[in-house]
């Protein structure tokens, strides 16, 4: 509990009441408000202006601060979501800390929404001013923090997204480290034959980019290396990387391939999905960047022929050890990409059981001219060209038992494959595509689909039920229902190609742990906001590009790569980064983690910004804290304080709101981003609702402590409401609303048990666009409150009070 905030200095409060033309003065009795404010303790100066936000109004504030030595300023006017920044600037120009300013929202919350009940509206405005003054007394000056920024970036993953991010940043003159797990950069795109919908050769367009990346003076490629750990925060990340031994000294290797020519050992090439082979000392493909050979010790027989072949270059070193390096970077771009699901566990399609059932990525390597078969599509069983091929879509995708999401690009690459086949073999090949929906959004894609149909590909709508093999011919019999015919059909094909789901890259979870990211239900990384921050990770200074955030095709990945580069540059281009002071702070004396194993705050923090090591008090990493206040409400010892929204400040607001006639009032806790904005919208839209509600602004509904609710009922509140962002994904602090829900789901039955009528406490999810809903909820609650009647509410409160007092006393809140 942060009530220890002693009032060392005497509060000298100035109250400025705005007419806003007739917007406020037309309904509220400004004179009465002025007289009321003057009677309140600590209020030194009260003034009403026609327009406080206009220059003369602001001048008056600045003058009054100097003249009357005001140390707290209240403006009773519009919503703080509109003019708080304006007035903060005004007071700071007069030498006052901007956080010693508070607004009472008497326009959106009173005059605009209660035009026909001016008397009650004025009473509500008085309460709002009283609440603002009560909070203002406890306000403390806060300083915006600045942290230095290291103007280097780390890009994790050298696929097409990561390469673009690195190139763009390097072009902006920032030093970029490009970390790649494999021997070469290039990613999945380098494995592909052609790209849709233009059918240009994939490596022909990616190759030059890879070379650019390799040559760029500002880019340092760290290939064949793993990310070990990341610590720090925006502008100041410390990254540990382990470089795996290639047994070839990169600086000495010229990529001449003489060692490869003499090497006697071959093993399956992962690059070719095991369809081709590579030498024990080799590069995965000829265009590899960096062009450094690698020895695979699992297969090497140490005949040292390569050492002889290398000769004077002396590039081979069998004693190479893993090397750990440490980097300091300002931002991190994550572009680790995706994996392809191998449906070994799906017995119905026979992958892994029937030799002629392959995945699309394997097919890609077959049809690629530089691939293991030299571009000939052949069957694994007999090496013959198939005369009929069936493509099966959505293998694993769009299946709640496997991967519920759509893998985004399978429709298109299947279209690409069938067009390639039809153009290559013409009438010599019969092609079937079994699909559910053909998803060909984006430019040129639908026309591509049209092209496939014109070439005479048989599209059969319907999910395949089963694939059988004919043992003699190794042909495959496919059972399906043609939705268009409404009849079951059977197709005999000589080869089956499965368009399998794109799944999160192996190690995504581990990467999430290292970088403090969150993964969605589908296992891909979660972005900070699905619409407005689609490439920002929830952790500041970390950005997401490409398919690691969800399956994406090449143009989308490229734009995301460039997008993240520009987002990263917004940080890197500054010498320092400003951090909002509305953050959580742990009181080490109160923290239980010192004596017991607690760590609840660290668990509940949506941003992983709290460290709770055993035996030490929990610690908030300031630069990572977003100031939602969830940890503050969760802390069982009340050891955490949220700056500017301290427990003491909110309790005093509750007490001020419920000072008179609490039974007739609805106390509401509204989250800043959704419900408070929704309430504002109800005002600006002039939706009229009863003037019974007394709103208290919190940054996130996750900040609403159960003690707030208990205190409100102890003081006799008629109704209590919590307004939050909609579940599941609308919360601006990732999942603060879920934390609040869990907390309140536990509290509600207890209150009911103690005799509280169920309608008296409710949680509502109201978005910033739902002004109508807000007005509706207040109307409904007021009706319920009147239906219950003041006597019943009072009686219930009498019954509740001793129990609540006991509970709150135990926590030393009262």
């Amino acid at each position: 509990m942060a009530q220890k905030e002693d009032e060392t200095e005497e509060s000298r409060i100035g109250v400025f009441i705005c007419h806003c033309g007739l917007n406020i003065a037309g309904v509220l009795d400004i004179k009465e408000l002025v007289e009321f404010a003057k009677t309140l303790p600590d209020v030194i100066y009260v003034k009403d202006n026609r327009y406080t936000c206009a220059d003369p109004g602001q001048d008056e504030i600045r003058k009054a601060i100097k003249e009357y030595k005001l140390n707290r300023v209240i403006v009773a006017a519009c919503s703080p979501r509109l003019h708080e920044p304006t007035f903060r600037r005004t007071v700071s120009e007069a030498g006052l800390n901007p956080f010693l300013f508070e607004m009472a929202n008497i326009r959106e919350f009173s005059s605009w929404c209660h035009p026909n009940t001016p008397k009650e509206a004025t009473e509500k405005a008085k309460d709002l001013i009283l609440m603002a003054i009560a909070k203002a007394r406890l306000l403390r000056p806060l300083e915006t923090m600045e942290v230095p920024v290291t103007n280097k970036a780390l890009v994790i993953g050298g696929g097409i997204a990561g390469m673009n991010a690195a190139l763009d940043l390097a072009e902006m003159e920032f030093k970029v480290y490009l970390l790649e797990k494999n021997e070469s950069i290039g990613g999945h795109m380098a494995q592909l034959d052609k790209t849709f919908p233009t059918l240009d050769c994939s490596l022909c367009i990616e190759g030059p980019k890879m070379v650019d990346v390799g040559r760029h003076p500002n880019i340092e490629i760290i290939a064949y290396a793993d990310l070990l750990s990341v610590s720090g925060y925006i502008g100041n990340f410390k990254v540990k990387i382990r470089k795996n031994p290639r047994y070839v000294i990169a600086e000495n290797c010229t990529g001449c391939s003489e060692c490869k020519d003499v090497c006697p050992i071959e093993y399956p090439n992962e690059w070719d999905i095991g369809l081709g082979v590579r030498k024990s000392i080799s590069v995965p493909f000829d265009q590899a960047v960096p062009l450094v050979y690698t020895i695979n010790k699992d297969y090497c027989i140490e005949c040292y022929k390569c050492v002889d072949a290398c000769g004077a270059r002396q590039a081979i070193n069998f004693d190479q050890q893993p090397e750990e390096i440490e980097l300091e970077v300002g931002t991190i771009i994550v572009a680790i990409g995706y994996d392809i699901y191998l449906p070994y566990d799906n017995p119905l399609y026979g992958y892994g059981k029937y030799t002629n059932v392959i995945t699309s990525l394997e097919f890609e390597r077959l049809i690629l001219a530089a691939g293991p078969t030299g571009g000939k599509v052949v069957r694994a069983s007999d090496g013959q060209k198939p005369h009929s091929i069936a493509f099966i879509q959505c293998v694993g995708s769009r299946d709640i038992n496997k991967y519920p999401y759509c893998s985004n690009f399978c429709c298109m690459y299947t279209l690409k494959h069938v067009i390639q086949l039809k153009e290559k073999y013409k009438e010599d090949i019969e092609v079937y595509v079994f699909y559910m929906d053909m998803r060909s959004n984006f430019k040129g894609y639908e026309e591509f689909y049209q092209r496939a149909r014109e070439l005479g590909v048989n599209f059969v709508q319907g999910r395949v039920s089963r694939v059988f093999e004919v043992p003699e011919t190794k042909n495959l019999i496919i059972h399906a229902e043609d939705m268009a015919l409404g009849q079951p059909i059977e197709v005999e094909a000589e080869m089956v190609v499965l368009a399998t789901a794109a799944i999160p890259k192996k190690g995504t979870g581990e990467m999430a742990r290292i970088l403090n990211l969150t993964c969605g239900a589908d296992g891909f990384f979660m972005e900070s906001h699905p619409k407005l921050k689609p490439i920002d990770a929830p952790t500041d200074g970390i950005f997401l590009a490409g398919a690691c955030q969800g399956p994406k095709d090449i143009p989308y990945s490229v734009s995301q790569g460039s997008g993240t580069a520009s987002r990263a540059a917004t940080v890197l281009s500054k010498p320092t980064w400003k951090i909002e002071p509305i953050i959580a702070v742990v009181d080490p004396d109160k923290c239980r983690n010192v004596t017991t194993k607690c760590g609840i705050c660290a668990q509940k923090c949506p941003y992983g910004a709290i460290k709770a090591e055993e035996g030490k008090p929990a610690q908030v990493i300031t630069a990572m804290c977003h100031g939602c206040g969830t940890c503050v409400a969760e802390c069982p010892a009340d050891a955490i304080t949220q700056m500017h929204f301290t427990d003491a400040q909110i309790f005093t607001q509750i007490r001020a709101a419920l000072k008179t006639n609490p039974e007739d009032k609805i106390l509401a806790f509204l989250c800043n981003w959704c419900s408070y904005a929704g309430a504002d919208l109800a005002g600006t839209s002039r939706f009229e609702y009863p003037p019974t509600i007394r709103p208290i602004r919190v940054m996130c509904s996750g900040r609403v402590d159960r003690d707030f609710v208990l205190e409100a009922f102890r003081l006799g509140a008629g109704m209590v409401m919590i307004g939050a962002c909609h579940l599941p994904y609308d919360c601006h602090y990732i999942n603060g609303n879920w934390k609040m829900k869990a907390r309140m789901d536990a509290l509600t039955p207890m209150l009911h048990k103690l005799g509280l009528s169920p309608e008296r406490f409710r949680v509502e999810y109201i978005s910033a666009a739902e002004g109508v809903k807000f007005a509706e909820v207040v109307r409904e609650m007021t009706e319920q409150m009147l239906a219950l009647g003041r006597d019943k509410i009072k009686a219930e409160n009498e019954k509740l009070r001793p129990i609540l007092e006991k509970m709150l006393k135990r926590k030393k809140i009262i």
């Binding site: 005369h387 010599d428 019969e430 149909r453 005479g456 599209f459 059972h479 268009a484 015919l485 409404g486």
Partner: protein
């Protein structure tokens, strides 16, 4: 059985309709496609807009989109045998509305011609309409009717003018149109 037959003709379509156990007839499909100009059935992406606006839909055992699908997969015999093709009212809505320039009605015309060529049974009612056109110029001949007093009346009794038979010019034009369709 079927598998063996399949192995004997390596490049034929390998699809089987499991309710009829029929296999597609590729030669017939080619013949059909040759009859219908630009509006090829394989452009169809099965949005089923043709069926949703078809006025004869209730009389069809196969719906327009199914006719297109069967035709593009090569199940032509089934289509000819079904008799469905004769129920089309030839309103041309399907051709007009198709977003992919597929014309089920063109297919139906082509299938009718194929049916005549293969000497399949043409429904009597369809032949009746044809002869009615030749005799009267109308799809249906004027019919006798019964009044409330249970009195049988026809045009003659009601003193309505007699229809004159279509002239030779019309008949010649009509036969020419039929020929054109046959091509």
């Amino acid at each position: 059985m079927l598998i063996k037959a399949r192995a004997a003709i390596p490049y034929s379509m390998s699809i089987i309709d499991l309710t009829t156990t029929k296999k597609p007839d590729l030669a017939l499909r080619l013949k059909l496609l040759a009859k219908i100009g630009e509006h090829k059935p394989y452009n169809c992406f099965q949005c089923i807009r043709c069926t949703s606006g078809c006025p004869s839909m209730k009389m069809l055992e196969l719906k327009p989109h199914e006719i297109v699908s069967l035709a593009s997969l090569g199940f032509i015999e089934e289509l000819i045998a079904s008799g469905t093709v004769w129920a089309c009212a030839t309103c041309l809505k399907c051709k007009e509305r198709c977003p992919q320039a597929v014309a089920p009605v063109d297919l139906i015309f082509a299938l009718r011609n194929l049916a005549v060529e293969k000497e399949a049974k043409v429904p009597e009612s369809f032949l009746r309409s044809l002869s009615a056109i030749l005799e009267t110029g109308f799809v249906q001949k004027p019919q006798d009717t019964v009044t409330r007093k249970m009195e049988k009346v026809n045009r003659e009794k009601l003193d309505l003018p007699k229809f004159h038979e279509p002239d030779e010019k019309f008949k010649a034009a009509f036969f020419k149109v039929l020929e054109l369709f046959q091509e």
